[in-house]
């Protein structure tokens, strides 16, 4: 323990003396490692620190910078959603939490090593891959994933060279979830509305030259199964200079079913019907075109072919009819999946997530036997669904499970565990992140933006002082 603290000093982790005192005076310390500093990781840390007195929580993050999809996923024109960062920052500044940025599981440290050094390891590293259409020509340059496009405008390191081709009039987005709608809004928003956001400078430049005028938002199923939420739709309908056009035939018979619907679905459907009724009254130079009952069939240069589908018990079944949509750029937005970053993880490749029951990772998914001390929360465990509140509730639940397992001695915490030793590694501490944060805020202020994100990892490390 003492040696470990000395190591921290020697490495210049900028750990305050008060923090060290707390860590030293509480022995034997229960050590919990959280891998991934996104919403699931921070919400879990918040609850664990509150419910377990005698514990230290270490958060290990692949990137130098924290907050995961709150920084790299939430749309730049939704700054209010990012207010959760204030709560995460309070958690990070808790005297019993240590942040290790720029440490990658599977590369810098193995799961085996973390399990040896902690009583419990909670994996919350999210979902960084996307589902494929599995069509021929999908690898063409004009077919990109919406996830990458989001990462591009949000400045995820490695995504800056995406260079989406915005020189054509028609973009087709396959999928109708909120990510798809975010992307449509970014493509159709007046540039002035984005200039005051933290959209990366290179993305603003590319969008300023964009020739995109029509965005098709295509779903396999019907209006009653639409995956976007009402807030996102209402925002699209209010977008200046953008005309939303629905296909009347997609809504045949829909109004007869309104009474059967639960309130959220009913309100969403009513808003679509209202917009359909009013369409044509507003004219904009750009068009947002939601299209239902079409399944991806083929990709050809400049266009995409879809099968017309029919609904059978809420499932979309392709018919022999097809339709072609002009598509200069195709964005695939049919879901995320996680990757397996360490061979020690019992990973469900088919579903793209970790085998678990209520956050306890399974040693054997056939028998349901749990691997003690190993947990998962967030999209890595549940699959990529829901809004932040969904992830929050899920992470709180898994954090409570960890506390319960420790308190009931289902998890043995009697042995002394050393915690992570980052000796020799270029670690970004919370103080290092604060330096990056200050730098980005100052750079943004000069341009009237809340921040100008640093995109290069080397630059992040330089600003952090490591």
């Amino acid at each position: 323990m003492g040696i470990n603290c000395l190591n921290i000093f020697r490495r210049g982790l900028h750990t305050s003396s008060a923090r060290l005192q707390v860590i030293q005076s509480t022995t034997p310390t229960k050590r919990i490692c959280i891998v991934g500093a996104g919403p699931a990781g921070f919400y879990a840390a918040q609850l664990i620190l509150k419910q377990l007195d005698n514990c230290v929580v270490d958060v290990v993050e692949k990137l130098p910078v924290p907050f995961g999809l709150v920084r790299f996923g939430v749309a730049p024109d939704h700054p209010e959603v990012k207010n959760v960062i204030n709560t995460f920052t309070k958690t990070a500044e808790h005297p019993r939490l240590r942040y290790f940025g720029n440490i990658s599981l599977g590369t810098d440290v193995s799961l085996r090593e973390l399990r040896d050094r902690y009583h419990a390891v909670l994996l919350t590293y999210g979902a960084d891959q996307d589902r494929q259409l599995e069509l021929e020509n999908e690898q063409l340059d004009n077919v990109i994933s919406a996830r990458k496009f989001v990462a591009w405008y949000n400045g995820l390191p490695g995504a800056e060279n995406l260079a989406p081709d915005l020189s054509g009039r028609d973009v087709t987005i396959v999928g109708q979830g909120n990510v798809a709608v975010d992307v449509a809004r970014m493509l159709l928003s007046p540039l002035d509305a984005l200039k005051t956001t933290d959209t990366t400078e290179y993305a603003l430049e590319a969008l300023s030259c964009s020739q995109v005028e029509r965005v098709h938002l295509v779903g396999r199923r019907g209006p009653l199964q639409a995956a976007f939420t009402i807030k996102e739709l209402r925002e699209m309908l209010k977008l200046p200079n953008v005309d939303t056009r629905w296909r009347t035939e997609d809504f045949s018979g829909i109004d007869m079913q309104l009474d059967k619907l639960q309130r959220p679905r009913k309100r969403l459907t009513e808003l679509m019907l209202k917009s359909l009724k009013e369409q044509g009254r507003i004219s904009g130079s750009k068009q947002f075109l939601p299209i239902f009952l079409r399944a991806p069939k083929a990709i050809a240069p400049g266009e995409m072919e879809f099968s017309v589908t029919e609904l059978q018990q809420e499932a979309a079944v392709p018919t022999s009819s097809t339709e072609r949509l002009p598509s200069h750029l195709i964005l695939r937005s049919i879901g995320y999946k996680s990757s397996c970053v360490d061979t020690g993880i019992n990973f469900d490749t088919r579903r793209g997530r970790v085998h678990n029951i209520n956050g306890r990772i399974l040693k054997d998914d056939a028998t349901g036997e749990v691997d003690p001390g190993l947990y998962v929360a967030g999209w890595l465990g549940t699959g990529p669904t829901g809004v932040i509140v969904t992830t929050m509730n899920g992470a709180f639940a898994v954090a409570k499970t960890i506390c319960d397992d420790i308190n009931t001695n289902a998890l043995d915490t009697s042995s002394v565990k050393p915690g992570y030793d980052a000796d020799g590694k270029r670690v970004v501490t919370w103080d290092g992140w604060q330096r990056i944060n200050d730098f980005e805020s100052a750079a943004g202020k000069a341009k009237g933006k809340p921040r100008e994100k640093i995109v290069s990892i080397e630059e992040m490390l330089r600003v952090a002082g490591v």
Partner: protein, 152 residues
């Protein structure tokens, strides 16, 4: 309605960010001001497991302000800090209290409530409810959280 909501949200946000940055401001806010008794409104939050949390705010505060200023122990409450972009300050009112509320929920509030867990016909977002003197003694129910399961 949207404009009013946004303004209210913005002013609260300004207050709250002040609170976050300065512990002194927080103290002044909660105890330092010599509040006239008539400005104080007593509020009870009732957890799903029946536990009652008695606290108070002052006229003009939102129910989210009451939770924040009194450090009421509700994990994750008010994640977006009153900007109508989440549903974590969801509260359930008694029908009679719900009907007495002066403002009906706007579209933006209903849109967020639609994402809330355990949505009811008398659900509101705490950030949108402004305390008035006639709310004295108000009891509001908090939808079940992970903490209730623990206590149960």
């Amino acid at each position: 309605m949207l404009v009013i909501n946004s303004c209210r949200a913005a002013s609260r946000l300004a207050l709250r960010s002040l609170n976050l940055r300065s512990p002194i401001a927080t103290r002044t806010f909660s105890t330092g001001l010599a509040l006239k008794t008539k400005d104080v409104v007593n509020i009870t939050f009732v957890r799903a497991n029946g536990d009652k949390i008695k606290t108070s705010g002052k006229v003009g505060d939102s129910l989210l302000d009451v939770v924040v200023n009194n450090n009421v122990d509700l994990d994750g409450f008010g994640a977006c800090e009153g900007t109508l972009t989440c549903s974590t300050c969801h509260l359930i009112f008694k029908t009679s209290d719900f009907e007495k509320l002066p403002d009906k929920p706007g579209d933006e509030e209903l849109d967020m409530l639609d994402l809330a867990y355990e949505l009811t016909d008398t659900s509101r977002l705490g950030c949108q409810i402004t305390l008035s003197k006639d709310m004295e003694g108000l009891e509001v129910h908090v939808p079940s959280t992970i903490n209730d399961a623990r206590a149960a």
